[in-house]
Structures are given as C-alpha cells and as structure tokens.
C-alpha cells in the first residue's frame, strides 16, 4: 500500500491538434491501453484519446476488478488467458504499481448439472492454456473457511471449479498507469472533450466533431462504454448491443482475511475482499436497458439475501457504498472488436460486465489491428460480422452476471 501512495503518477494533459493519425473516443481502460500499445509496440504516437468526463469515469472505475480466464468457449479462454498473463507483467511493463494481487477464484456448484458444467469448464480451460481444476467441498472449505457448505440449507456446495491464477488489481491505477505510459510516449489525452459527431468523406469516416471543434484522423476507434450505440449510429453502424445498468456494493471493514474470489452461477453473485478489507459484492445486471446511474434498494436486498446464505458472517457487516455502471451487453455475451464495415471506423465494444480483465489484451490487439491493418488471430472470432455469418461466441454462463 505504501508504494501506492509514494509513487506518484505523472499525468500531463494536452491541448488537441486539428489532425491526428488515430483518434480514440473514450478514455477508459480499453481506449488508453490501445493508445499505449500503439505508441509502445508500434511507434505510432500521433494519437489522441478524447474523454467526455475524466479518465476512468465510466466502467473502468466502476467494475469489481476481477481478472480471470475461466471462460466456457476456446476463443474466449485463449483471449482472456493472454490478458491475464499481460496483467501479471503489467507493473514491470508500465513501471507503475497497479496493486495486482493473485487470489484464486472458486466457482461454486450447487446441483449436479452445475457440477458437470464446472468439470467441462475445467477441462476446456486446461486444453486452451488456462489453469482450472475441480475441487471437493472440503477443499473449497480449506480455501475459504468462511463459506457455509450447506448454503444456509438452501444452496448446498457439491463442489467447485478452482482457477488459481485469478487476481484483482486496483482499477483506477490501471487506467492511470496506461495513461501515463501513453503520455510519456507522446500520446495526447484530453479530458472533458465530448465527441458530438463523426466526420465523413463519402463512405469513409475521417474524424470526429467535438464540443470544441472538429479533429481529423486516418482512423477513428470507438472505445466508448455506455453510449456506443449512439456513436456507432453516427457512422451508420448498427450494433447487437443493449446497455444495462450493473450495480455493486461494498461493506464496512471485515477484520479477517478473506483470500479468494467466490463466484456462483445459480445465485448470480460474486464476492471478494478489497485491499481496504471491505467485502465487495456484485451480482447480475438490471433486467431493463437503461442509461440511468441510479442505484436501487431491491438490488441491495436481493444480493444481501444471496451472499448471507453462503457467508453467514456477512449478516453482521454493514453496507457502506453502492454504485452503478452502464454495461454494453452484446447479444452473445462476448466482446465486439475490430472492423465495422465502414472505412476508417473501428470499435472495441460489447464489454458488458467482462471488460476490466480484458483491458491489456484488448488494447494490445486493437493496437496491432490499427498498426498493421490486419485482424490478429486472437481478435478474429470477435468481429462484428460474426452475427451476419451466424458464428456467434455465445458464452453467457461464464460472465457470472447472467
């Protein structure tokens, strides 16, 4: 914790020029990581990141900071495993502490079908380069002594899959570290500059209109969270996305150490402990699409009921803080990255409730696409045209929120 306070981050803000090689809309993790890798790996520094609020104001600063690769389809496991490995080396790469902590993730099974699904997940993960093993109720209890194996009599634990490499990192540190890395290499980052439209030359997108005038570019990348349908519509691109609120909350300080991350598909909730000792609880996203950041009591009520079944000690904790982010949920619960069919306009979107863990890989791969003009193999399965080709990447059961 001390080096978090002592080692300050050098952020330097720029006044934007009129023309850039690359304009990135959205100063969250994905936008800033893409800018960083463009500069660091490809020497492309004529880049501006335009942020309507402050950097990390959206979902990069509102998520529950879990990094894991235990997905249910090969393409996703490979992509997220690459991201998990990039996260492991990120403090060295960026020369900046992100408070990366290896915790391990337990995914509980309460029924026989869930047990079989978790075994299938474990086998698939291993086959695709991630580490996930099945564990017994006794082993689960050893890893997490606070867990009630009877689930309050209602959700008995039959077993679990265990993903030891799962970790957490301080989310806004990740945003600042990428911003600093990009700025040091000459990338411009501009806050409080809202993109109001896209510039067109015939069928091609040639820049953006902002609240302080137009900016021209060879490539425009939308790394927007929450308002991506509006931005894409300005390019004439329609997306298979609905924007839903996702809520989370933290309790007051819990004096004992709670080591792992615990996730539950039947209850649709997940629990971990923050660096400050608070218990952090997330659950499913709100049923209705909405751009309202209002939190609800019904969410607190239903989530608290769930977690106290599994963790009786939480009955004695108090809820400290609750918040909401707007998540772009794609129709197949996988991200959408790359070309849009409109020249000069790319997207990295559909990050739903699974975007934080993907920041390093998403940024690195999008930068490679922009620099080379070719879609890297890790990104190919996640292109927008998969819906027209009927090759969707359906993996709702691995999101932990659906």
């Amino acid at each position: 914790m001390s080096d978090f306070i002592e080692r300050r981050i050098a952020l330097s803000w720029a006044e934007p020029k009129r023309t850039y090689d690359v304009v990135i809309i959205g100063g969250g993790g994905h936008g800033l990581a893409t800018a960083y890798y463009l500069a660091a790996r490809h020497g492309i520094t004529d880049v501006v990141v335009l942020e309507a609020g402050y950097i990390g104001a959206g979902n990069s600063g509102r998520n529950t900071t879990i990094i894991r690769a235990n997905y249910g389809i090969p393409e996703a496991v490979r992509f997220y495993q690459h991201s998990l490995e990039l996260y492991q080396g990120l403090e060295d790469e960026l020369d900046c502490s992100i408070m990366h902590t290896r915790k391990g993730l337990i995914w509980l099974a309460h029924t026989e079908p869930q047990l079989r699904a978790e075994r299938a997940r474990s086998l698939l993960n291993v086959a695709c380069g991630a580490e996930t093993v099945m564990i017994t109720p006794e082993e689960t209890k050893q890893l997490c002594p606070q867990l009630d194996l009877t689930g309050g009599g209602r959700y008995p634990v039959l077993g679990a899959s265990y993903h030891p490499a799962a970790a957490t990192a301080r989310h806004d540190r990740v945003v600042w570290a990428y911003a600093q890395g990009a700025m040091r290499r000459g990338v411009h980052v501009v806050q409080h500059r809202k993109v109001t439209g896209l510039l067109r030359d015939g069928a091609r997108i040639t820049g953006v209109d902002t609240t302080a005038g137009p900016i021209h570019a060879r490539v425009v990348l939308s790394a927007v969270g929450g308002n991506v349908s509006t931005v894409a519509a300005q390019a004439g691109v329609r997306l298979p996305i609905r924007s839903h609120p996702l809520q989370a909350f933290v309790t007051n300080f819990y004096t004992e150490a709670f080591q792992p991350i615990v996730s539950d598909t039947e209850l649709l909730c997940y629990v971990s402990q923050t660096e400050r000792g608070q218990m952090l609880i997330g659950a499913e996203y709100d049923a209705q699409p909405s751009y309202s950041l209002r939190s609800s009591f019904s969410f607190l009520q239903s989530s608290a009921a769930k977690v106290t079944h599994l963790f009786p000690f939480m009955r004695d904790l108090r809820i400290l803080r609750q918040w909401t982010g707007i998540c772009d949920i794609s129709a197949d619960f996988s991200p959408i990255m790359g070309a849009t069919g409109v020249d000069g306009f790319l997207v990295t979107t559909g990050w739903g409730t699974w975007g934080f863990k993907a920041i390093p890989a998403g940024g690195e791969q999008m930068a490679q696409l922009i620099a080379t003009g070719r879609t890297p193999p890790l990104l190919e399965p996640f292109s927008l045209d998969r819906f027209a080709r009927d090759h969707t990447m359906a993996d709702p059961g691995s999101t932990g929120t659906h």
């Binding site: 308002n227 349908s229 298979p240 699409p289 909405s290 609800s296 019904s298 027209a388």
Partner: protein, 78 residues
C-alpha cells in the same frame, strides 16, 4: 425502483416482470433481404431516450404488455 402498470394486475414492481426486448421494427432502408434479416434478428436501437418495448408479467397474469419508457431516467411514460 422501477414500477410497471400491468393492464390486468395494476401497478407492480419491475421484479415481477421479464424484459422481452425492444418492439422490433423491420429496417426498411436496408435493401438487401439477407442483411435486413440480420438486422431484424440481432441488432438493437438501444436508444438513449424514449423506447417502446415488450414485457412479460411472469409473476402476475403471465401476459405480454407494451411499455413506453425513457432510458435516461428509467421512468415509465405509458
């Protein structure tokens, strides 16, 4: 908290309902029939503002209803 008025059951909390998606319209401006199908099956308007959508009163009368809602404030208009 979102409340929805069901024509049969009256004003009930949204937790009793299941969201059934935007009221679909066929994109007449897309001339290619195959592309139009893709749009109809997969794409969403996802508007920031007024939207017309279908909801199912799963814990009530179990009938479908049409709702006019503002996604900026999450408030039901009609």
């Amino acid at each position: 908290m979102l409340w929805i008025t069901c024509p049969t059951c009256g004003r009930r909390p949204a937790e009793e309902y299941r969201f059934g998606g935007e009221l679909r319209s066929i994109a007449a401006w897309i001339t290619d029939p195959a592309e139009r199908d893709v749009d109809y099956v997969w794409m969403s308007d996802n508007p920031e503002g007024m939207t017309i959508e279908r909801w199912f009163h799963s814990a009530g009368c179990r009938r479908w209803l049409t709702l006019h809602r503002d996604t900026r404030t999450d408030s039901v208009v009609a």
